[in-house]
């Protein structure tokens, strides 16, 4: 019971920090919108072309936006010593990691899900794909936060951490990208969406079990 409370307090503190920093935390969603808006300039305004590539473009932009925001997940706490205190708190470090990932998803993943349908409209995406897009992002963005947390923990204290993080994390994002886009494409072309969402759910469950544990191990060796 007290562990549960301590978990939500840790989530609460990270949310409080994110809100205090204002714009800082919402740069991810701003980046997401900008990255998607660039595509019509790149490939031309033809509605058919935009509609065809819309799911892929939205997903790739979501991937990059999530990754960019991950760099700060542990970095500031590591630099100012808060991470040491978190590691020495009675709450298991695995739970603290889970709390920080939850807060990260609430401040970056959730806004992406909200912004995605608007962007889908801008890209002329077929209306049949909207529900699948939101459902796939709802399962996929927590996965991005979880997988990315491992990378964010591993690069603590490294030289050129940001570039390194993308090299570590982007290959691991590929399955999420494949199934996320496949779900939306299936909905647009009238195929079954469920199998893709099921795979995403399976990946999410596995990540929920494994990631806090691996990330805590990575943080411990970073603090050593």
């Amino acid at each position: 019971m007290t562990a549960m409370k301590a978990f939500w307090r840790t989530v609460g503190r990270d949310l409080q920090l994110a809100l205090r920093q204002g714009m800082d935390s919402f740069t991810a969603v701003v980046f997401f919108v900008l990255a998607v808006v660039l595509f019509p300039f790149g490939v031309g305004p033809e509605p058919a072309v935009l509609a065809r590539i819309a799911p892929g473009v939205i997903w790739v932009a979501a991937l990059l936006a999530s990754m960019l925001s991950l760099e700060r997940l542990f970095q500031l706490d590591y630099e100012d010593g808060s991470l040491e205190l978190l590691a020495l708190a009675p709450l298991p470090l695995e739970a603290a990691v889970g709390a920080k990932i939850t807060a990260h998803w609430l401040t970056t993943g959730l806004p992406l899900i909200v912004a995605a349908p608007v962007l889908a409209v801008l890209l002329q995406m077929d209306a049949a794909g909207f529900v699948a897009l939101v459902a796939a992002l709802a399962l996929g963005t927590p996965l991005l936060s979880l997988i990315g947390a491992i990378g964010a923990a591993l690069v603590l204290g490294a030289r050129r951490g940001g570039v390194l993080l993308s090299l570590l994390v982007l290959p691991l994002y590929i399955p999420v990208l494949i199934f996320g886009v496949a779900a939306v494409d299936a909905a647009v072309f009238g195929f079954a969406v469920r199998p893709h969402l099921m795979v995403l759910s399976g990946l999410l469950l596995a990540a929920l079990v494994l990631v806090p544990w691996v990330t805590a191990a990575a943080l411990r060796q970073a603090l050593e």
Partner: protein, 212 residues
């Protein structure tokens, strides 16, 4: 009475043995002061005592039981104040202490404990000021105020007087005395005295060893 002891501790950093075969023992009410030149491993020993890093060899015991057997219980019984103050510029002093209080103690009296802790370190008037306006000494006072928001018997302090003025040093010394009087244990790395009264002084230079 609590007793914290280390036996034959060795520490390696970056392929170098920092110290080896170090023994120590602190009991309730006692203070242990770690001295030694830069690089002699004072901070490393404190981190090792806190459980932040693992010893290359040797054992830590609390009341005769191995610390490694129950790391959570060990974390619960210690406060560690390191070089970094862990102060978030976006939050005010009260919020920062409240988080520690609730994370560590969880009880309903957290607010009162926070006010008392601010009072102890003489920063009660700064409670609602965002810490981005704090000076280095005020940040240090805030970091030390964490010691009082949730009671724990073992204090591990890494050069606690850094950046403190004479008034704050006096407050800290009083707090350490009160903690010891109440049966608490203090281990502190220090550069120069005056050391807490009747403290055991360990010079880490005596344990530095050439490479194997």
């Amino acid at each position: 009475m609590s007793a914290f002891e280390g036996e034959a501790l060795s520490c390696a950093r970056g392929g170098r043995v920092v110290f080896s075969r170090l023994d120590f023992r602190v009991r309730g009410g006692e203070a242990l002061v770690l001295v030694g030149p830069n690089g002699s491993g004072k901070s490393s020993l404190l981190r090792l005592m806190a459980g932040l890093s693992a010893a290359a060899s040797g054992r830590l015991r609390w009341n005769g039981e191995a610390v490694a057997a129950d790391p959570t219980a060990h974390r619960r019984r210690l406060h560690y104040v390191g070089h970094l103050d862990a102060v978030k510029p976006a939050l005010d002093a009260r919020e920062i202490l409240l988080f520690t209080a609730r994370l560590r103690a969880g009880g309903g009296k957290a607010r009162a404990a926070v006010s008392a802790a601010l009072e102890t370190m003489g920063i009660a008037h700064l409670g609602d000021v965002p810490t981005r306006y704090f000076s280095a000494g005020q940040r240090r006072r805030l970091a030390l105020a964490r010691l009082f928001v949730a009671p724990a018997p073992l204090w591990l302090l890494d050069e606690p007087r850094t950046a403190l003025d004479a008034e704050a040093v006096a407050r800290l010394d009083n707090a350490i005395a009160a903690h010891r009087h109440g049966g608490g244990l203090v281990v502190a790395a220090m550069h120069g005295g005056p050391y807490p009264p009747e403290a055991t002084v360990v010079d880490l230079a005596a344990f530095s060893s050439p490479l194997q």
